[in-house]
């Protein structure tokens, strides 16, 4: 409870100006607060460069000027908030201006969480536009919009109710919403969409600490939750079966179902590539998903290693073990473009929070995703296994990180010992 209160204040209600020596009375309560724990949320002030409050003796410049008392830097204020007045200065040129203090570096990138998430949204747009204008009609737009709005709404509501810092603006919830919609059939009822949103944002993301702390990909977890309603999740309408807002509820066989049965789907390879086939709302067009992935790579939002190791593993395993007596080439190409593989490899497995951070950790993670995908597709009772494969590897992400960092340390120690 106490912690939460601190969280909310996030430093924002603390006095901004460096207390001068005379104002000791006003300063005391703050000093008492600063002795308390380190884990206080470092949200910082808008436009305030001083880092998070830390115990007094840990501050980087606890050393106050001992001799030259001119600029008062009180010993009790290890981290100067906003402005330190320069009370007396000999020189001309208006050297009496407030200066801020902070640890180096004094320059940082312009990227923020929001710009990264915006890039992901932009990368999803081609697939969404074609889906809405051509494959599944305006209902695809509506489902995506409802889902994104639902996620942002639940996030905002949760932050409001729990008095956390409002994070709905960082667009990560919107990305979750669109990604969740992409994995659903276009004819999905709206209550199911909102239910998935609720599970994804509130249960999977916020209850575990919000952005950066969830251990499962919220969109995939929301989708997995919706499998409680199999009738909803398997009614894939055929492409171009829409008429205005309504869509043919008749479920068409997806290419993945055919693959699961060990035969090649009726759609040609070109149709698979362009997306003229039945499937979930955003997953049908390989070309448009690749276009979005390319955008993310160029913008350096994601790195190639997870998608490459993921798709590479699937390709190798499909090539080695084609099912139903089909040729290796056909089977591999259909496997790569079938189901939600490209969507998962480019947009879901590369989710920052639930993937490892080290280079080799990411490669292992991608290989694991690929191997599990092929395993689940071949031996699972449900045609598509990509989502569950990624979820399972999400659970291992921290473990992979720990292991790869431990290996890195061991390697470094060995190198040092040799030198």
């Amino acid at each position: 409870m106490k912690k939460k209160r601190k969280n909310r204040s996030g430093g924002q209600q603390r006095p901004q100006h460096a207390p001068q020596a005379k104002q000791n009375e006003t300063f005391q309560p703050q000093a008492a607060e600063q002795i308390s724990p380190v884990e206080k949320q470092p949200s910082g002030l808008a436009g305030q460069p001083a880092p998070a409050p830390l115990p007094r003796d840990e501050a980087p410049r606890a050393e106050a000027p001992q001799v030259n008392p001119a600029p008062v830097q009180p010993q009790t204020a290890p981290l100067l908030p906003k402005a330190e007045k320069q009370p007396k200065l000999s020189s001309s040129a208006g050297l009496g201006t407030p200066l801020t203090l902070a640890s180096a570096p004094h320059l940082t990138t312009r990227d923020t969480t929001r710009t990264l998430m915006l890039d992901v949204l932009i990368a999803l747009m081609p697939a969404l536009l074609f889906s809405g204008c051509y494959f599944f009609g305006p209902r695809a737009f509506l489902v995506s919009l409802v889902s994104a709005a639902g996620c942002v709404g639940f996030e905002a509501l949760f932050c409001l109710l729990t008095r956390r810092r409002q994070t709905a603006g960082d667009l990560s919830a919107a990305v979750t919403g669109v990604l969740l919609a992409f994995t659903l059939p276009a004819g999905v009822p709206y209550w199911a969409v909102l239910l998935g949103d609720f599970f994804a944002i509130v249960v999977v993301k916020q209850l575990f600490g919000g952005l950066g702390k969830n251990f499962l990909n919220p969109a995939l977890a929301g989708r997995a939750f919706l499998f409680s309603f199999p009738a909803v999740m398997t009614a894939f309408p055929a492409v171009r079966s829409w008429e205005g807002l309504s869509i043919d509820a008749q479920s068409a066989a997806t290419p993945m179902a055919a693959l699961h049965a060990g035969s090649l789907p009726s759609a040609s390879l070109l149709e698979m590539f362009t997306g003229v086939r039945s499937g979930a709302l955003g997953e049908v067009s390989a070309a448009l998903l690749l276009l979005g992935g390319l955008y993310l790579l160029v913008r350096r939002v994601i790195k190639l290693r997870i998608p490459l190791s993921f798709l590479g593993t699937v390709a190798v395993l499909s090539w080695c073990f084609p099912q139903g007596g089909n040729s290796s080439l056909d089977w591999t190409l259909y496997s790569l473009m079938g189901g939600g593989l490209l969507l998962a490899a480019l947009f879901m497995a590369t989710d920052f929070t639930t993937s490892p951070v080290t280079f080799w950790g990411q490669v292992v993670y991608g290989v694991g995703c690929g191997a599990l995908t092929v395993f689940l597709r071949t031996f699972g009772s449900y045609p598509e296994g990509v989502g569950f494969a990624v979820l399972m590897m999400n659970l291992l992400a921290w473990l992979i990180d720990r292991a790869s960092l431990a290996l890195r340390r061991a390697w470094r120690q060995r190198k040092e010992a040799r030198a």
């Binding site: 380190v38 884990e39 470092p42 436009g47 305030q48 460069p49 880092p51 998070a52 830390l54 840990e58 980087p60 050393e63 000027p65 001992q66 001799v67 030259n68 001119a70 600029p71 830097q73 100067l80 320069q86 200065l89 000999s90 020189s91 001309s92 040129a93 050297l95 201006t97 200066l99 801020t100 902070a102 640890s103 180096a104 570096p105 004094h106 320059l107 940082t108 990138t109 312009r110 923020t112 969480t113 990264l116 994070t167 960082d170 919000g210 952005l211 950066g212 702390k213 790195k303 920052f352 929070t353 993937s355 490892p356 951070v357 080290t358 280079f359 990180d401 340390r409 470094r412 030198a419």
Partner: protein, 437 residues
């Protein structure tokens, strides 16, 4: 913005304002200089002067003590006080305060044998060069402030390669570039002296392709190929991997090389250095030849005063430099630059922190192969033992992680907090003084 595999970043250079300006002496020399006689906290050197003494430029003020080079007066005048004064690296240090008489009368002759200008480096014994470096109070001029003589003696006979570092990959800083471009003969002569001091037949001078005028100036003094000094051009990248410590290789800066040349052939102690004064808050950014000990405020005045409101004043490069709050603090031989940064310069770095995304960019760019996001997590949650396991001491505080963090986490700050916690109360004071501008 940052390279893919081997760590490091490529920040925007922001060197246009000063890159092509030749360095110049100050138009308005400082009326008073403050020369720290010892690194605060280290064994204090015994001052050789008392208040009221008249001193000449280049006169010794304090002898060398282990880890600290000798200190010389950078102007002539009267000693006003010997007392602790605020330093730019933080904390106060015993300093000699000298009121300048404006004449800059040099000492009659230096304490060491002055070498004729035409004499070749081979006429000097290696040990003699180290002695001159000690007498002249030369330092590494790489930010650490270690005495050059000590480094030379440590490397003698052990180093089999010599690398001279002319790179400056931090944004804004152009002092080395101007030194190389405007005094190439001093730099190359100094490199040859260093080769002689270490008895090595050749040396490599590393510099960045973006320092093109420095490259052209140095090239004009060197044969196209087969010379004793090889120029190695690098792409701008921060931090420069070539300049990392390597076993069996001696590493010196171009500033030290030029200072050694000045000491040997001109009999000058280390009393001046080139400092880049830049940032959009100063009216006339410049590369200034500054007497060591000049207060920061005099440099600002020399650069035309404030053009807009300075939000932060940084002594050193923007990636590792220290923010200043006291404009009376004097610059030292280690100060590469003085940056008056406006809100626009700083803008993204003063954004509030947001939660860590675990995007892994910090891991990507860390030249030490650490995972700063975990160090940050452990520090903020007080898991001090985990820090040791993660080898936090391998961090060089280059700042690349904090630069790329999209959540704008103060990663370097957290790491410093963790390091200091681990080093404990005993190590705390040393840690204070290791970092200089």
């Amino acid at each position: 913005m940052f390279s893919i595999f081997s760590g490091g970043i490529r920040p925007a250079q922001r060197k246009k304002a000063t890159g092509q300006l030749p360095f110049r002496p100050m138009e308005q020399p400082p009326a008073q200089v403050v020369l720290p006689l010892a690194g605060a906290g280290t064994a204090s050197a015994v001052p050789l002067v008392v208040p009221g003494d008249r001193v000449r430029a280049g006169q010794k003020l304090a002898d060398a003590v282990p880890g600290q080079a000798a200190v010389h007066a950078s102007v002539s005048g009267t000693v006003a006080a010997v007392e602790p004064r605020q330093q730019i690296r933080g904390g106060a240090a015993l300093s000699a305060v000298i009121d300048s008489d404006g004449t800059n009368t040099p000492v009659a002759s230096p304490a060491w044998r002055r070498v004729d200008k035409d004499a070749s480096p081979a006429s000097l014994r290696p040990g003699e060069l180290a002695d001159i470096a000690a007498q002249a109070g030369l330092t590494a001029m790489d930010g650490t402030g270690r005495p050059l003589s000590q480094l030379l003696r440590d490397a003698m006979g052990k180093a089999d390669a010599l690398l001279i570092d002319g790179t400056e990959s931090e944004p804004y800083v152009t002092s080395r570039r101007r030194l190389m471009a405007d005094r190439p003969e001093a730099v190359l002569g100094g490199v040859r002296l260093l080769m002689q001091a270490l008895s090595l037949p050749r040396a490599t001078l590393a510099l960045e392709g973006s320092q093109y005028d420095a490259v052209a100036a140095l090239r004009s003094y060197l044969p196209l190929r087969g010379g004793d000094i090889e120029l190695r051009l690098l792409r701008s990248r921060y931090p420069q991997p070539l300049t990392f410590h390597q076993e069996g290789r001696a590493l010196f800066t171009v500033c030290s090389a030029a200072a050694l040349w000045d000491a040997v052939y001109r009999g000058q102690a280390l009393t001046h250095r080139i400092i880049t004064v830049a940032g959009s808050a100063v009216a006339r950014p410049a590369n200034l030849l500054v007497p060591i000990g000049t207060p920061v405020s005099d440099l600002i005045r020399e650069a035309g005063g404030w053009k807009e409101e300075p939000v932060r004043l940084v002594a050193g490069g923007p990636m590792t430099g220290k923010a200043q709050f006291d404009l009376t603090a004097p610059v030292t031989g280690e100060t590469r630059a003085l940056l008056a940064l406006s809100a626009a310069d700083l803008y993204p770095s003063i954004r509030p922190e947001s939660p860590c995304l675990r995007c892994g960019r910090c891991v990507e760019v860390c030249p030490a192969g650490l995972a700063p996001l975990f160090l940050h997590l452990y520090v903020r949650s007080g898991q001090w033992e985990a820090l040791e396991r993660e080898q936090i001491s391998a961090c060089t505080e280059c700042g690349a992680c904090a630069y790329v963090c999209p959540a704008h986490l103060r990663l370097v700050h957290s790491i410093r907090v963790g390091k200091r916690r681990l080093s404990g109360a005993a190590g705390r004071r040393e840690a204070d003084h290791e970092e200089e501008a």
